[in-house]
């Protein structure tokens, strides 16, 4: 529970929390978009454009992009289902907002510490596919429709490995609350040594890899970006969107990447916890620590995104059902045996 220094009544607390969550998502999208999409990619690919505007390291590029999106005309296809077309981007972004509600950033700093935090986070994150389907259907465009259907098929396939990857952590921690999982990692020990706690990546590295692969598919990033496949479906479900509505999809994409990186950091890398830091100091350092860890995870995600080619739709399905899900089940089995044995 987020506890404020001054008690200002539940109504104001609620409003404060809402504003906080609303502010986090665009900020997160901005940070990831700037760091990885513009800077890391430019360095990898020797791009000159994004390194130029504004002088120092092209810092102005993202602002310029934002201004460009706001200026664009809001085009809606004549055949489109107007209401659904308009709502779809909002649905995608809302699902991103909802994930941030349960991510803890300190012993006391969490918007809502749900007992079923993990379950809730994964459930709301998959809401975005409804928005994607709405966008694809309402656009009255064949490319958009193909993209949306691919996205739906992909989500069904990859939700399962994602859950299975997390189940190992849940079994080991004995709780589904994200805060509880962080505490379990902080209080743990490596063969009796309490130095750095016990980040679950040490035992759940298979789960960590599974989580990264599956979240890559959830985020529709390369090598699993068939729903937006630029060279095949032009931009998939986003093909008819312009200006501000497209910006919504953009924010949703990078905001969700941020959320999944935060989830991975919380589940496997110890979240906000830092060795030998407890109490109020942990609250203070929680946000930068979690941020550093999640940027590490995001770096991995985007590194893969910019390096790999994309799989084909049927190859993606067989990868999920033939490899990831059996591995995930085996991981749970082994975790369960160790949990009972030790």
């Amino acid at each position: 529970m987020l506890q404020l220094a001054v008690d200002i009544g539940w109504g104001w607390t609620l409003a404060f929390k809402t504003v906080l969550v609303l502010a986090v998502v665009p900020l997160a999208a901005l940070v990831l978009g700037y760091t990885f999409l513009l800077k890391m990619m430019s360095h990898m690919q020797s791009r000159l454009g994004p390194m130029d505007p504004g002088g120092f390291h092209g810092w102005f590029q993202l602002v310029g992009d934002g201004i460009k999106f706001l200026q664009k005309e809001d085009v809606m296809p004549a055949e489109a289902d107007r209401r659904v077309f308009a709502i779809a981007p909002a649905v995608v972004v809302i699902s991103t907002f909802l994930v941030f509600v349960v991510v803890p950033t300190g012993p006391k700093l969490v918007v809502e510490n749900l007992d079923v935090g993990v379950f809730y986070a994964l459930a709301v994150s998959s809401l975005s596919v409804i928005g994607v389907l709405m966008a694809g259907w309402a656009s009255a465009n064949k490319f958009a429709l193909l993209g949306a259907l691919r996205a739906a098929a992909q989500l069904i396939a990859y939700e399962l490995p994602l859950l299975l990857a997390v189940v190992g952590v849940v079994v080991q921690a004995g709780t589904m609350s994200l805060q509880g999982i962080v505490h379990a990692q902080q209080a743990g020990s490596i063969f009796g040594w309490h130095g750095i706690g016990f980040p679950f990546i040490l035992t759940q590295f298979v789960g960590f890899l599974l989580f990264l692969v599956a979240s890559q598919a959830e985020l529709t990033q390369t090598p699993f970006d068939m729903p937006v496949a630029e060279s095949e479906l032009v931009a998939g479900y986003m093909v008819e969107y312009t200006g501000f509505r497209f910006l919504f999809f953009f924010i949703g994409e990078f905001g969700t990447a941020f959320a999944f990186a935060a989830l991975a950091a919380t589940l496997f890398l110890g979240g906000w916890s830092l060795p030998w830091v407890h109490g109020a100091a942990a609250d203070l350092l929680g946000i930068p620590v979690l941020f550093a860890k999640l940027m590490l995870v995001a770096f991995l995600m985007f590194w893969v995104r910019f390096t790999y080619p994309r799989l084909r739709e049927d190859q993606l399905q067989s990868l999920a059902w033939k490899f990831l899900i059996p591995i995930g089940l085996a991981n749970i089995l082994v975790t369960g045996i160790f949990k009972v044995a030790f």
Binding site: M41, M44, Q45, S46, R47, K142, F143, L146, T222, P223, D225, M226, A229, E230, S231, E232, L233, V234, F306, T307, Y308, P309, R310, L311, R312, E313, D314, Q315
Partner: protein, 395 residues
């Protein structure tokens, strides 16, 4: 559709993997999913230009594909009838705009053949070097582009970045990055600038390193292999019947290269080079063959620089060029495949008729045969691996 129907239509041979498709087909009959006609292009990123593919889809499976060409037709064959010979190099430059210099060579060659002029050895060697450089420039774009079409962004930018080495060299020698217009009947416009030879040597080393980079990032990648191996198989015989030529045919195991097997032209008879082939005929082998050919070209350029003769760059040519009556057919191995010019002269300052045989036109003609039964993503792979330039299709 062709008359060379074989039971080996890709995707329809009976393999365990494809029994699944038969089962799918049965379900489709029961559920009666209608076909969908999808227009790929003329404005589509995968067609890099204005090729339009009318694709009939069942789900994501292609039932029939029909390429519609002509959106970029500029009427070059007709235009040549109203231009003088020196003016025509400007036109043929723009057929395959990525390797413009290689386009000029066969036309100039045909004119020289009719006039009975022979370019001095230095001019011939410089022509050979520039032809190979434009081959490298073209293939570099392909090596990156293929990654882009498969979803990998980085190789595309590497391709553009390293192609710049070659374009800078072409610009330094000819004055034009894309459209050199450097050939003259009987020789070349200018000699090479100072320092060009040593600069080219360094650039070729960079090109060879860049090829290693492509090999590391794509050839060894499991996803790349999964996407390209066994996709879009052109059996050698069928490819040859459709008129597919160049690297596409060599990737189908047919050992045929006009630089070695054709009528001797440029300095190729004096060069020691290997013609690369691959037995598979799929998209992967087309990529592999072009990668090896890029390396081979870089080695050829180094070899040519070592033996660059000195002397004049222009033969004795009359001030007003009038080509005596006659007909000439010259074909060369261009980056995209076999390119030929059939020139008919009636003794005027311009040709009476020119027929241009461009490689991409024939390479694309196999698409209806090749695309039957593949998935939409594979359509993109096949289009990218065939590697055509729209200007070369439509002329």
């Amino acid at each position: 559709m062709s008359t060379t129907e074989t039971p080996q239509v890709p995707g329809f041979e009976i393999e365990p993997r494809d029994l699944r498709h038969l089962a799918d087909a049965q379900i489709n009959v029961e559920l009666d999913t209608g076909d969908m006609i999808l227009n790929l292009g003329p404005q589509h990123p995968a067609t890099h230009g204005t090729l339009r593919l009318v694709v009939r889809l069942d789900g994501e499976r292609v039932i029939a594909a029909d390429p519609v060409i002509g959106y970029m037709h500029r009427g070059y064959e007709k235009l040549t009838e109203f231009r003088t010979y020196p003016q025509i190099t400007t036109l043929v430059n723009r057929i395959d705009w990525l390797s413009s210099f290689a386009n000029e060579v066969p036309f100039i060659h045909a004119a020289e053949l009719l006039m009975g002029i022979e370019a001095p050895p230095r001019a011939v060697w410089i022509r050979t070097i520039l032809t190979e450089l434009s081959r490298i420039a073209t293939f570099y774009l392909f090596l990156g582009e293929m990654g882009l079409q498969l979803g990998a962004l980085t190789p595309a930018f590497w391709g553009f970045r390293d192609r710049e080495h070659v374009l800078n060299l072409i610009e330094a020698a000819t004055g034009g990055r894309f459209h050199p217009n450097f050939n003259r009947i009987g020789g070349l416009k200018d000699d090479l600038p100072w320092g060009w030879v040593s600069e080219t040597r360094t650039a070729m080393k960079a090109i060879l390193d860049g090829c290693d980079d492509f090999e590391d990032i794509l050839i060894g990648n499991e996803i790349f292999e999964a996407r390209t191996r066994g996709i879009g198989i052109i059996p050698g015989e069928i490819g040859a019947n459709y008129g597919v030529s160049g690297s596409n045919l060599r990737a189908s195991g047919i050992d045929w290269d006009l630089r070695r097997d054709g009528k001797p032209y440029l300095a190729y008879p004096e060069l020691d080079f290997k013609v690369w082939t691959h037995p598979d005929g799929d998209s992967f082998s087309r990529y592999w063959v072009r990668l090896q050919e890029t390396r081979e070209s870089a080695r050829m350029v180094l070899q040519l620089l070592d033996g660059l003769p000195s002397g004049p760059i222009m033969a004795k040519v009359p001030r007003i060029i009038k080509v005596p009556e006659g007909e000439a057919w010259v074909e060369t191995e261009n980056p995209l495949g076999q390119m030929g010019y059939y020139v008919i002269s009636k003794g005027a300052t311009g040709p009476f008729r020119v027929k241009i045989r461009s490689a991409s036109f024939s390479n694309v003609s196999i698409l209806p045969w090749l695309l039957r039964g593949v998935y939409v993503p594979d359509v993109i792979t096949i289009l990218a691996s065939l590697y055509f330039i729209l200007g070369d299709i439509d002329r």
